[in-house]
Amino acid sequence: MKMKKGYTLGLSLYLVFLLLPVYWLVVMSFKTNEEILGQLTLWPQTFSFDNYVTIFTDPSWYMGYINSMTYVAINVVITLITALPAAYAFSRYNFLGDKHLFFWLLTNKMSPPAIALLPFFQLYSSVGLFDTHIAVALAHCLFSIPLAVWILEGFMSGVPREIDETAYIDGYSFPRFFITIFMPMIRSGIGVTAFFTFMFSWVELLMARTLTSVDAKPIGAIMTRTVGAAGVDWGLLAAAGVLTIIPGCLVVWFVRNHIARGFALGRL
C-alpha cells in the first residue's frame, strides 16, 4: 500500500508540472497589463475580460481564428474523402509497390516542413492559390493524409474480411458496401482520424504562415506579428493563446481511449 501512495504523489507532481504553465497562461489572460507588469499575483486582483473583448471585436484578430478554422475544416474533409478508400486498399489488398507507397506516405509525415518551404511558396503562387485557404489545406494534406491513412489502416485491419466477402456475395457494389456497411463499422476510427487530422493541421504554423499573407492568415501568425508593435501586450497574447488551446480541449474527452493509437500513427 505504501508503494501506491508514492505512485499517487509522483503522478500528482507530474500533473502539476503539466498544468502550471497552462494555468499561468489562463490566469494571465484575465489580468490587466498593469497588474501583469506590476507584481506577481497567483490570481487576478481585478478580473478583466478586456483581452477577450479586444480579440472578439477586432476583425484583424478574430479573422485569424476564422481563417485557421476554415483551412483546417477543408483539410479534414479532403483528407477523409481521399484517405478512406486508400486505407481500405492498403488493409485488404496486395498490389504492385504497396509497401513502398505506404513507406513513401510515411516519409511525408516525417519530413520537416522547413525542407520544402521555398518551392512551396512558388508552387502555390504559380497555380494562383497563394494566400487562400485551399492552399494551406492542400499543403497540410502532405502530412495529414499519411497520418489518416496510417490510422485508418490500423482500424480497418481489425475488421475481418469475411464481412466484405459476404456483402459482395449478397450483391452489394463496392461503393454501397463501403458507405452503408463498412464505414459504420469503423466509425470510431473515422472519428479519431478526423480528430487527429484536425489537431495536426491546427497546431502547424510554418507552412500556414508561408502560404498566406493577408486573406487567409492563421491565428498563429497574427499572434507572432502583433507582438512587438508597441512593446508586448502580454495579456492579449495570453488570451489569444488560451483561445487556440480550447478547440483541442473541447473534443479530447471523446477520443481519450484512442488517443494513444492516433499519436502512434495507428500502430498499436
Binding site: T8, L18, V22, W24, A114, V203
Partner: protein, 289 residues
C-alpha cells in the same frame, strides 16, 4: 492479421491520395534538386554551379554546429522523455474515471499549437512576469533564458519534455493495459518483487510501443522549429538554433536558394534513412505478431 488478396486494381483507390500528396511533395522535391546545383538570382538569372553548394554546405561550420546541436538535443530529449514517460505510465491508475481524467490532462500539451507552446514558456519563464522565472530568481538562481545560453538550452529542453513526454506516457499506458491480469496474478503467487514484475512482465510487453515512441520522438525533435523560434528566436548566440531554423533562416531570411536547397537535400536524406529504419522495424514487428 488479415490475409491480403493480390489485386492490382486497388491502385485506383490509392490514386487520389497519391495525386494530392505527390503535388505537395514530389514537385517541391524536384525543385530543390534543381536549385541545389544552380546559383539563382531570379527566374532569368540562374547559373549552373555543379556540386559547389554541396561542398560549401558540407564544409560550413555553422551547419555542422547546428547538426551537432540537433543530435545533442534529440539525444537529450530521448534520454529524459522515454524513462519519464514509462514512469508516468506505471504510476497511472489502471482504469476508471481517474484514469480517463489522467489521459485527458496528459493529452493537453499535445493539443496546443506549437507556437503557443513557445508563448506559454516565454511567459512562464520570464523573471519579471513568469511564475517559473520569478520562482527561480527568488531562490537565488541567476536565471535568464534570453541572455544565458545554458539557461536557454535548458528551458527549451524542459519545454520539450513538458510538451512531448505525454506522448510516451500515453503510448506506454496503452501498452501496459494490454497485459492480461493473469500475468500479474502469476507474479504475485511467485512473490515477484516490483522490479522483477517490471523487468520481466511489463518491459517486454512495452517493447513494441517503445520502438514507436522512440522513433516518433526522434523524428519530431529532429524537426523542432516553432517552439524555440518563439521562445528564444534561436539565441542567445546560436545556442538554440536547430536544423529547421538554420534552414529557414538561410532560405527565407537570406534568400540563399542554392545552399539552402543543398542543405535541405542533406537534411531530407537523414530523415529518409531514419524513416526507413523505423518502417522496417515496425513491419518486422507486425510480422512477428
Amino acid at each position: 492479421m488479415i490475409v491480403k488478396i493480390k489485386n492490382q486494381k486497388a491502385l485506383w483507390l490509392i490514386l487520389p491520395v497519391f495525386v494530392l500528396v505527390a503535388f505537395s511533395s514530389l514537385i517541391p522535391l524536384m525543385t530543390i534538386v534543381n536549385y541545389s546545383i544552380q546559383d539563382i538570382f531570379d527566374v532569368n538569372n540562374a547559373y549552373y554551379v555543379g556540386t559547389d553548394w554541396f561542398r560549401e554546405v558540407l564544409a560550413d561550420p555553422r551547419l555542422r554546429d547546428s547538426l551537432v546541436r540537433q543530435f545533442g538535443f534529440s539525444a537529450s530529449v530521448l534520454l529524459i522523455e522515454i524513462p519519464l514517460g514509462i514512469g508516468v505510465a506505471l504510476m497511472m491508475p489502471k482504469s476508471g474515471r481517474l484514469a480517463s481524467l489522467c489521459l485527458v490532462v496528459l493529452a493537453v500539451p499535445l493539443l496546443i499549437p506549437w507556437n503557443v507552446v513557445g508563448t506559454i514558456w516565454q511567459i512562464y519563464g520570464r523573471a519579471d512576469i513568469g511564475l517559473m522565472g520569478s520562482a527561480l530568481t527568488s531562490m537565488g538562481f541567476d536565471y535568464n533564458y534570453a541572455s544565458d545560453p545554458v539557461d536557454a538550452w535548458l528551458t527549451v529542453l524542459v519545454m520539450d519534455v513538458w510538451h512531448w513526454t505525454s506522448l510516451v506516457a500515453l503510448l506506454c499506458f496503452s501498452g501496459l493495459r494490454a497485459i492480461p491480469a493473469a500475468y500479474y496474478q502469476a507474479a504475485q503467487i511467485d512473490r515477484a518483487s516490483g522490479w522483477s514484475v517490471f523487468r520481466y512482465i511489463q518491459l517486454p510487453k512495452l517493447k513494441n510501443v517503445l520502438v514507436i515512441a522512440i522513433l516518433l520522438r526522434f523524428m519530431d525533435s529532429f524537426m523542432i522549429y516553432a517552439e524555440p523560434f518563439v521562445l528564444t528566436g534561436g539565441g542567445p548566440g546560436n545556442s538554440t538554433t536547430f536544423l529547421s531554423q538554420t534552414l529557414t533562416k538561410m532560405a527565407i531570411g537570406q534568400f540563399d536558394l542554392g545552399p539552402a536547397a543543398a542543405f535541405s537535400l542533406i537534411y531530407f536524406l537523414i530523415i529518409l534513412a531514419v524513416s526507413y529504419v523505423f518502417f522496417t522495424t515496425i513491419t518486422q514487428m507486425d510480422k512477428e505478431r
